[in-house]
């Protein structure tokens, strides 16, 4: 079976407090490994997953934030952040990790993976997906 589906992963939880964020990343990478059309959304506390300067040395658990930077290498380059969730938490794009990918159709130019979208645009993205995975 070689059918490609549009998979949308919706993240609504902060990292480390629960296992959701880490589990989501694992499943995202599985979807990418099967060469599916993967998008990842960050809403509510999910936006905290992308904050820069995460340092878990004091917790003794793995800092998995570096994994987000590797997503581009797995052709996961459609990361959507809900503007309303970001603003409600007093955050801007500058507070987040810069995530980029190399566009093979554009002479490997480095491009931003993160797009900030409104609630309405996010709702449309959900509609356009074939399968939705919420975490």
């Amino acid at each position: 079976m070689s059918e490609t589906k549009k998979l949308m992963y919706v993240n609504r939880k902060a990292p480390y407090g629960t296992i959701y964020a880490w589990e989501s990343l694992e499943v995202v990478l599985i979807g990418a490994a099967f060469e599916q059309d993967v998008s990842v959304a960050f809403v509510d506390d999910g936006v905290y997953q992308l904050c820069k300067d995460q340092d878990t040395t004091g917790l003794g658990i793995k800092n998995f934030s570096a994994t987000y930077k590797a997503l581009g290498d797995y052709d996961v380059n459609k990361l959507y952040i809900e503007k309303e969730s970001l603003e409600a938490r007093g955050l801007t794009l500058d507070d987040l990790m810069p995530l980029v990918y190399e566009d093979e159709d554009d002479d490997w130019a480095e491009k931003d993976s993160i797009k900030v979208v409104s609630s309405q645009e996010m709702a449309e993205l959900f509609e356009q997906s074939d399968v939705l995975f919420n975490f």
Partner: protein
């Protein structure tokens, strides 16, 4: 294209129902199950949010979960439809996909 949204958390404990209503596109269905059924009750601080969303979304609540919690159908927000398990199955078939708001 339409999405069936399921909400299984109390709106007084989590923001799942609120986020679902905010991010559900017009024409979608929202089914409240498990502790999510408390979101279907009238006279609460969340009732207006549900009533106002009814212009774009259809709301359902799972009957067995209401009964289990002692919530009388007379206490539901006007317009919320009660379904049983086979009604739940029908909703999953009638819509293109399901989004579970954990």
């Amino acid at each position: 294209m339409s999405i069936l949204h399921t909400v299984n958390k109390s709106p007084f404990d989590r923001n799942s129902l609120e986020s679902c209503v905010r991010l559900a596109a017009k024409g979608g269905a929202v089914l409240m199950i498990e502790d999510g059924v408390y979101g279907a009750m009238k006279g609460t601080s969340k009732s207006d949010m549900v009533s106002n969303a009814m212009k774009d979304l259809t709301f359902y609540v799972l009957g067995p979960d209401l009964k289990a919690r002692g919530v009388d159908e007379g206490k539901l927000i006007d317009g919320v439809k009660v379904v049983d398990y086979s009604g739940f199955v029908n909703l999953t078939v009638e819509n293109d996909k399901v989004q579970n708001w954990l």
